[in-house]
Symmetry: C2
Subunit: 358 residues, 2 copies
């Protein structure tokens, strides 16, 4: 803190008015760009603004309007690259339109999600971008509906009867993963996920299963899911492998699952892709620098963010009409963690792929 009290009160619009010798209303008009002000008066206002270093107080300016120039963003967490990028994008887009983004983390709790939403309602935000913890049918969306709030649902949603939704096309991406794995000859595949996020996880699972079975009706697909946290998932996975199950590939429906799978592999001394292949939903920066690089589904963060903001502002500006449900295409990055079953030396040395020196 600057302990020498440079705390001079900030100049208000009235200070500018008296310095310029006009009324506050005139100052307001000049700054709003109204043209029915005499040029000399406008100039004096600009001079006074300059001299005093005046800046509009956005909160005071918002007091009168029903919707303030604030957009709320509620994410399940901030720690992952995906939501971090999402917040960064949303912030920039809101800013471009002269709005401030207020982001909050629901910390994967539906109760907290609703509380945050209530607080944002108190703030009279113009709109909310909600990435629900679970899906579009949670208490938060119900609250928004009940209070006539404007909002867009993203990520863990499919479609809704009240709000526009934007999410990655999980089903299509999963189908592509299925094509890759089955195409490489995998016929026993384990899929892992967390079931709470019903909306997307189910889409991913079904998209994968349908495509895999279409390509090879005799493919065996095992599924392990846990309800809330990853630890039960880890336990189930450990138990599954402990029973002697040996799928040739694992498809993780979410980032945390990919981490769990990797740590279980290393616990057992299995190596990708020789002992088992791995593909995960959600990409991360580290996945391309590890040994092996991890194949992943990349979500179109920027497109989801910009599409969500477009839809949101359309509604903020009063657009009516039935809600739309958007699915943005993903990119599947094939990397070294995927191989053909039984092609590499099994559980032994010499497993490294040595890329040529440039």
């Amino acid at each position: 803190m600057a302990h020498q009290g440079a705390q001079q009160r900030r100049p208000s619009i009235h200070d500018v008015a008296s310095h310029a010798g006009v009324s506050a209303a005139t100052v307001s008009k000049v700054l709003a760009g109204v043209t029915t002000v005499r040029p000399e008066n406008a100039q004096r206002v600009f001079d006074a603004v300059e001299r005093l270093g005046y800046r509009v107080d956005p909160l005071a300016s918002d007091m009168r309007r029903a919707k303030r120039r604030i957009i709320g963003a509620i994410m399940p967490e901030f720690e992952s690259e995906f939501f971090g990028q999402m917040v960064t994008e949303l912030e920039g887009l809101a800013e471009q339109r002269g709005y401030t983004l207020v982001a909050a983390s629901s910390r994967e709790s539906e109760a907290r999600e609703k509380e945050i939403l209530a607080r944002m309602h108190d703030w009279r935000v113009a709109g909310v971008v909600l990435a629900p913890v679970r899906n579009e049918h949670g208490p938060a969306a119900a609250f928004m509906k009940a209070n006539g709030m404007t909002g867009v649902l993203i990520d863990r949603v499919l479609s809704d009867d009240a709000f526009d939704t934007v999410s990655a096309d999980s089903a299509a991406a999963s189908a592509e993963v299925a094509r890759m794995l089955v195409g490489k000859g995998h016929s026993h595949i384990l899929v892992i996920g967390l079931a709470e996020q019903a909306a997307t996880v189910r889409a991913r699972l079904e998209g994968f299963r349908a495509q895999a079975l279409a390509l090879n009706p005799s493919v065996r697909i095992d599924v392990i899911t846990a309800e809330v946290s990853v630890e039960p998932l880890r336990a189930s996975l450990r138990d599954y492998f402990g029973r002697g199950e040996r799928p040739t590939a694992v498809y993780s429906l979410l980032l945390k699952g990919t981490l769990v799978a990797l740590s279980e592999f290393r616990r057992r001394g299995w190596h990708c892709p020789n002992d088992i292949s791995l593909v995960g939903f959600d990409d991360a920066e580290w996945m391309q620098v590890t040994w092996p690089a991890i194949a992943a589904v990349v979500q179109p963060v920027r497109r989801i963010a910009s599409e969500a903001m477009n839809l949101l502002f359309r509604r903020v500006e009063g657009a009516a009409g039935p809600p739309t449900a958007r699915l943005e295409p993903c990119q599947v990055l094939m990397r070294e963690s995927v191989g053909s079953p039984g092609s590499g030396p099994h559980s032994g040395g010499g497993d490294r792929q040595q890329p040529p020196l440039s």
Copy 2:
């Protein structure tokens, strides 16, 4: 958007007042817990609040006070685990005190940092937690000083003559890394970093160098830094290895450097820890599930956050006195990426460590 217009105007304090048959001032007092209100009137106010579902408008409530119950947080980015966790922590701590946290990303730009700060000043935030892009001497801190803002500087800072600072004890942690590496017998170590973040990077470098030389005066320490982005760092590193330099260990002073080092290792087909050892500043979730697990310095995020908030609110409440500079201790996690030089099979197979099955 709920297209059936459930947009009923929210009840104001006057609605509550008229429903309760008292004045708005009385309602305000009751809700503020003033005791000089007749119990029966207080009860009628509570009833009206309940019936109408009234909640205070925090913005209107803040209008009269000079400092609003808002805390600003400015981070260089949101994409990394470190800053993601930091924002999550800060948000919770602000909330506990009845404040709203407004977070913004400077996107590693000092110009943007200052703009955001100006906007937060417009908002009349009570205080700011600033994680500067570079160090405590940037334009943002100067702006805060010039405008008498209350704030705390964190992370990439050492100490300041105007603001309290809180950061990880980079020097001590680096010294411990030096003890580990030199203790394992490494005598040619490469340190990589980005020089722009002068404050912490220099502390880390000097802490490391001093300790390493104290333990082994003949140790060779090479340093590669780049100015702004990681790509020049990657180029320099590539060039360095290309010249035939073969340190036995690399210490990266920041997370992005760790990624660059890893990707260069894999480009050349080198393997940790047999071909080269690696330690990085900043831990990440994935580092313990890769092969090998990456040794890292863990920053005490929670402690930094809570200490910063404590100091900040002390100043917000008017505490005077000279600024304090806090250093919070780090934890160094030794993992498989660090070995003794020349102990493993060099550049060959069989490099995996197989942990026993439980």
